[in-house]
Each structure stands twice: as C-alpha cells, then as structure tokens.
C-alpha cells in the first residue's frame, strides 16, 4: 500500500518535472547580472523552455501546464499580466501543429525550429503590448532578445535535456 502510494507520488512529481524545471530556469533569468546586455536583451526563457518540452514531451507539457506556466511567468514579469501567457499560447499552437516536422529530429533542426518559431511568438507579444500601450515598443531590443535567446538555446535545451534523459526517459 505504502509502496503504491509512493509510486503514485513519484509518478506525479515526474509528471510535474517539465513545469518545475522550466519555472526554475525562468526564476534564474531574473538574476541581476549588472550588464547592459542583460538589462536590455534578456533571453525569452519561458518561450524556449515551452518550445523544448512541447517538442519532446507534449503529453506532460499540455495546454493546462502551458496556462499555469504562463500565469506564473507573468506574475514574475513587470510586463502586463497575460501578455507572456498569450505568447506562450502562440508557441503552443505553432509547436503542436508543426510537431511532425520537429519530433525525433537532430538538434540542429530543433534549433532551426526555435529560430523560426521564437520570432513569431515574440512579435505576437510585441504587437499585443504595442496595442496595449498605444505606441510601438522598441523593435531593436526585441531583435537582440531574439538573438540572445537563440544563442542561449543550446544551453537551455541541454539543461532541459538532462532532466528529460535522467527522469523522463521511461514511459510515464
């Protein structure tokens, strides 16, 4: 009885790992780095994590998880609540529709996928917030944020892949 309970708890925890790992990385993205680069072009950590898990474990990173993840990430951000969630939902829509081209491919293809999907999500958020504020937000910083996101993707993907390979390889 005890064993089955612990098994269930373990199973539930494992199912939450993609969300917890993504949240941890999002928390770390707020680290004060005292650099002009970090202050103006932080990588879009939430979008990168969502992309990774939506490609590898869409069963564990489903719409409900994306919604909760988006809400917590928006709670952390100073940007209007809901804007980050909308960008994550765009990522969810795109990735779930393009998953057959991405799943099981080599890393370079996934990186190229991130290079294609990230700007769409970032631009969607940019458009939404430009309407919200009634004035266009700076595109140059958005572009730099995109570039740093792309540069950081191998690292972020690698960290998430560690969790995936260590804990989520078995069919949970």
């Amino acid at each position: 009885m005890t064993e089955s309970w612990s098994e269930t708890a373990k199973d539930k925890l494992y199912r939450l790992l993609p969300l917890l790992c993504s949240l941890l990385l999002v928390f770390f993205s707020y680290l004060p780095l005292s650099s002009p680069m970090a202050d103006n072009a932080r990588p879009a950590m939430a979008l990168m994590c969502a992309y990774f898990w939506l490609v590898y474990r869409p069963d564990l990173f489903n719409l409900g998880v994306v919604f909760v993840f988006g809400m917590i990430a928006d709670g952390l951000s100073a940007a209007p609540f809901g804007s980050g969630l909308a960008a994550l939902l765009v990522m969810y829509l795109l990735t779930t529709n393009l998953i057959r081209y991405l799943n099981g491919r080599v890393f370079v293809v996934l990186w190229a996928g991130a290079a294609l999907l990230l700007p769409v999500c970032l631009l969607a958020q940019w458009l939404l917030l430009s309407f919200y504020y009634g004035q266009p937000l700076p595109l140059l910083q958005l572009f730099f944020s995109y570039l740093t996101s792309l540069a950081c993707y191998p690292l972020i993907g690698g960290l998430n892949a560690l969790i995936l390979n260590h804990f989520l390889q078995e069919d949970i």
């Binding site: 005292s34 202050d39 909308a86 919200y132």
Partner: protein, 290 residues
C-alpha cells in the same frame, strides 16, 4: 453493435478535438481578459497581483541567491585587479568631497537664514528605506527591478526610488517584504522634470529603450546637449531638485536623457517618502467643503 460503438467512439473523439480547440481559444480569451483587467487597475487585481508578486519574489530571492553569491564572488575577484587604482581614486575623491562638504555646510546655513528671512515654507523631512535589488528585468516589454524591503511599512506605491546618484524609478507594487520598481526607462514611467539651468519643464518618459526621453517640452524652449535634468516637483510625489540625468541628444521631439545612475548596475536603492501632501487629495477636499 461494434459498428455503433465505433461510431460513438469516433463522435467522442471529434467532440474531444472540438473541446481541445475551444480550450486554446478560451485560454487566449483569458490572457486578453487578464491584460484588460491589469489596464483597468482594478483593486482586486492589484491586490491579487501584489500577493502573487510577493510569493514569486520570495521564491526568486531564495532560488537566485546562490547564483547571486557566485556572481558577486566573481565580481569581487575581478575587482581585486583594480583595487590599487581604485584606492587612489577614492582617496582623491574623498579629499575633494571633504572640501565640498565644508562649502555645502556653509551654503546650507546661509540658505536656512535666507529661508527664515523670507518666511519660506520648508518641505517636510524625508524618511527612506534602503532596499537590496533581488531581481531585474530588462527587455523590449519591461524595465523593472524587484527589491527586498524587509517588512518596512514606509514603502507604498508611487514613492520615488533613488540610486547612489539620482532618481532611478518609482514603486509600482509593494507587498510586506518585496516591492517592484518601474525604472525610469520603463514605458510606464512618467516623472515631471525640468532643466536645472533654464528651468524648462517637461516629463521624463520611458519607452523601454535603454535611455528615457524628456517630452512635452515647449517648442521655443532651449534644451541642448549637456543640460542637467532635475525633478520639477510637479505632481506632489517627488520633491523638486532631485538629480535625474544629463541630456545627450535634443531635437524637436524631445531630449534623450542619460540617467546619472547606471540602471543596469543597481545593487541597493533608497525608497524615499518625502511626506508631501497629495495635491489631488487637497483639491478633492476643497471640492467637498464647497
């Protein structure tokens, strides 16, 4: 029977797909509703998001502190290289500041005597809270920092925040232990300012670019590169004369201002309450009396 079961299963699958699609649309609707509610500054939303901010700030503080220590350690090791030159520079600065301090004290006494002679209404004394920056955010969407206020009750929304050299932002949200500050270059930041020399008034507005802009400057005003910008005191939250920055570029649309403090290197800030009466409160009170 089997055929019917299959049909039911197929219908159920179709329905599930429709619900799935509907769920995504619903999630988008929720996201837009959240944004609209944030814009309306609803009290309930403000309180809920304040409480959420408190929880996530505490989590960030705890999670980020080991990485923060590593970053600080690395910074310390790097600073050791320059310690001798830094020491010499500080000695020289200290000598200069001692002389300046003596001059300022004399000016202060003179100022107080003149104020007494003119019966000038002196501004009430300020109280402040020094807070450590625990998280920062900088992107095309927001420029803000989260600070640890250690349960201080003197922190509230709208208060001015100053760094080591000048004003850096205003409190946007505050909870029992943490406060979120919109920096002067955030799109939500609007601070009434003026040029120190010519007393040309304007508003320092952020647009999420690295440097804020002074806007609403009169067309005939002579604002040029190198002009120092200070707070004008309009609005009643920030007193006049606080240093803000220096104009680095001026054109007909406004003037780009470089803040004295480096916004990306804030470690500690002071949240200052000048105990200035809210002018809108007084206007309302007058209206009610009438």
């Amino acid at each position: 029977m089997v055929k019917r079961d299959k049909e039911i299963f197929f219908r159920f699958k179709q329905l599930r797909n429709v619900i799935k699609k509907f769920a995504v649309a619903l999630a988008f609707v929720f996201a837009f509703v959240f944004m609209l509610l944030t814009k309306s500054e609803n009290v309930l939303i403000e309180k809920t998001s304040g409480a959420a901010n408190e929880i996530v700030s505490a989590a960030t503080d705890v999670l980020v502190s080991p990485a923060s220590l590593l970053a600080e350690g690395y910074g310390y090791l790097r600073s050791l290289r320059k310690i001798d030159a830094e020491n010499r520079r500080l000695r020289e600065e200290n000598r200069r500041l001692i002389m300046e301090n003596a001059r300022n004290r004399a000016t202060d006494i003179e100022n107080r005597l003149l104020a007494q002679m003119l019966n000038y209404a002196v501004l009430p004394g300020a109280s402040f809270v020094t807070a450590k920056v625990v998280a920062e955010e900088g992107s095309a969407f927001a420029h803000a920092v989260t600070v640890y206020t250690a349960g201080s009750r003197n922190v509230r929304k709208g208060l001015a925040v100053i760094g080591s050299r000048g004003i850096v932002g205003r409190v946007e949200k505050c909870g029992p232990n943490y406060a979120r500050i919109f920096l002067v270059n955030d799109i939500n930041s609007k601070i009434p300012v003026m040029t120190e020399k010519n007393r040309v008034r304007g508003v320092l507005a952020g647009d999420n670019t690295p440097l804020p802009k002074m806007i609403f400057i009169p067309l005939e005003a002579d604002v040029k590169e190198g002009d120092k910008i200070v707070t004008s005191g309009l609005g009643g939250v920030v007193p006049p004369g606080l240093p803000v920055g220096v104009v680095i570029k001026a054109d007909k649309d406004g003037a780009v201002v470089r803040p004295y403090d480096r916004l990306n290197r804030l470690e500690y800030v002071q949240i200052v309450d000048y105990h200035l009466p809210d002018p809108t409160d007084e206007l309302f009170a007058e209206g009610e009396d009438k």
